[in-house]
């Protein structure tokens, strides 16, 4: 997951992640991408569109 510079670490993405894979730190998001099923709900709810799926 690409976390854009303007992410404000509000944690809304973590709240909707159905697999509990996002850890919200004060100034960092940690994604457990190995377990991610690519549902993209975290991208959908972000209030400032700060998340983008990495192409790989």
């Amino acid at each position: 997951m690409i976390v854009k510079e303007w992410c404000m670490y509000c944690g809304e993405c973590a709240g909707v992640c159905p697999r509990n894979l996002i850890e919200v730190r004060e100034t960092r998001l940690n994604f457990n991408e190995e377990e991610c099923k690519d549902c993209k709900i975290c991208i959908q709810v972000c209030p400032v569109q700060a998340l983008e799926k990495r192409d790989d």
């Binding site: 404000m8 509000c10 944690g11 809304e12 993405c13 973590a14 709240g15 909707v16 992640c17 159905p18 509990n20 996002i22 850890e23 919200v24 730190r25 004060e26 709900i41 959908q44 709810v45 972000c46 209030p47 400032v48 569109q49």
Partner: protein
């Protein structure tokens, strides 16, 4: 490190839980991942006076930015209906807080009551050991383990702690409002003593608000459901600010964002050794999105039950289960009504909202009671009967 009760999250719900647990005589640690409790704020900062009083908190000018005496509701075409507190009981109207001070103040109260406060401390995991729980955490580069009899999870809408314990705290996007807010100066409100709500397509699935903070300062924000709009909350906010007469010449000094769980109370809020409270447990008024007072009410109940369980020496789900019943009585019943009201409100088109606002614009709310209000509403909007039923 060992404690009787570990509270994770020092927002209003967590600090209230920590304070009341400490007052009950058990040992309490409260941890928060942030370096500054209360910052950044993530809400419009409105609370009811009745709620503050019910919690036994003495209002302080240190954390009250402004007293609001009414509500102004604005339909999509700009028609406004004004309600004042002397005429109608208003949720979320009363005080506009300075959350950065209020949250610290509540945490300080917890500390004074005897709770140990740990800032910049992030819970990273949890495991059961015998009949207790070990929470792993990180604080300023150090890894910690805290053994506790009970965990009160007050870690907000992004709660992970409840899920570590096997509770289903994850939220679906259809019940998570995506919110964005500016604190602005130069706001020219029509009624500077009223909190203001704007309904309709300005905020799909939610509403926009202007909450005065004194002088020309206000929180200007909105919440949307991302399941019914392609734009982000921030994009909707920019448009709202640009088009609203009160804000088009105002300037932002702060941007806040966050999620607001508006689906009502989480059904299962306890398991062995763990209680979930505050936003993490859905303790947010589904209609207004306000969760400060309700979260604190939940935190207080959680503390009472947890402290009793420590005293009993029984931290099982069975012994903690009463927490769910008490929360249901205190919050759940009214939330069910607010959910219905929200469902009705969100079913209305911009035109229907305008028609209703125009019909109520000149109502004398001094003489109109709730039943009359609903009768009038049903006359204008027949689907109110279907959606609201015997709500009031």
């Amino acid at each position: 490190m060992e404690t009787d009760i570990l509270v994770i999250g020092a927002g209003p719900a967590g600090s209230t839980a920590a304070k009341h647990a400490a007052l009950a005589g058990v040992s309490v640690i409260v941890m928060d991942k942030k370096s500054e409790i209360g910052a950044p704020k993530r809400c419009a900062e409105g609370v009811s006076k009745e709620g503050v009083e019910k919690l036994g908190i003495k209002p302080s000018e240190r954390w009250i930015a402004k007293e609001a005496t009414g509500v102004r509701m604005v339909s999509p075409n700009g028609t406004a209906v004004n309600l004042t507190e002397d005429k109608v009981k208003l949720p979320e109207a009363g005080y506009i807080l300075e959350r950065k001070i209020f949250d610290k103040y509540m945490a300080m109260d917890a500390g004074r009551a005897g709770a140990k406060i740990m800032v910049k401390t992030l819970a990273t995991g949890m495991r059961r050991e015998d009949d207790q729980v070990v929470v792993t955490a990180e604080s300023m580069g150090q890894e910690l383990e805290i053994k506790t009899k009970i965990v009160i999870a007050a870690d907000g809408p992004e709660s992970r702690v409840g899920r570590w314990a096997g509770l289903k705290t994850a939220l679906k996007p259809k019940i998570m409002e995506s919110c964005a807010q500016f604190e602005m100066a130069g706001v020219q409100m029509a009624e500077p003593d009223c909190i203001e709500f704007h309904f309709g397509s300005v905020a799909p699935g939610g509403y926009a608000w202007i909450f005065p903070k004194g002088d020309d300062i206000a929180n200007v924000g909105l919440g949307v459901l991302t399941t019914i709009t392609d734009k982000s909350a921030y994009e909707h906010l920019l448009k709202f600010v640009e088009n609203n007469p009160a804000t088009k010449n105002a300037q932002p000094v702060e941007l806040n964002i966050g999620g607001d769980p508006v689906g009502g109370l989480l059904k299962k809020k306890v398991t062995d050794n763990v209680l979930v409270t505050g936003d993490a447990a859905g303790m947010v008024n589904p209609l207004t999105g306000g969760g400060i007072i309700s979260g604190m009410m939940g935190g207080r109940i959680a503390a009472q039950i947890a402290a009793q369980a420590v005293s009993d020496g029984d931290y099982s789900q069975k012994n903690l289960k009463i927490y769910e019943k008490l929360c249901e009585e205190e919050l759940g019943e009214s939330f069910k009504k607010y959910l219905k009201a929200k469902d009705y409100l969100l079913s209305l088109s911009d035109e229907e909202l305008d028609t209703i606002a125009e019909a109520f614009q000149d109502s004398d709310f001094e003489t109109i009671n709730t039943a009359e209000m609903v009768r009038k509403l049903v006359k204008i909007s027949p689907k109110a009967l279907l959606k609201l039923g015997k709500l009031f």
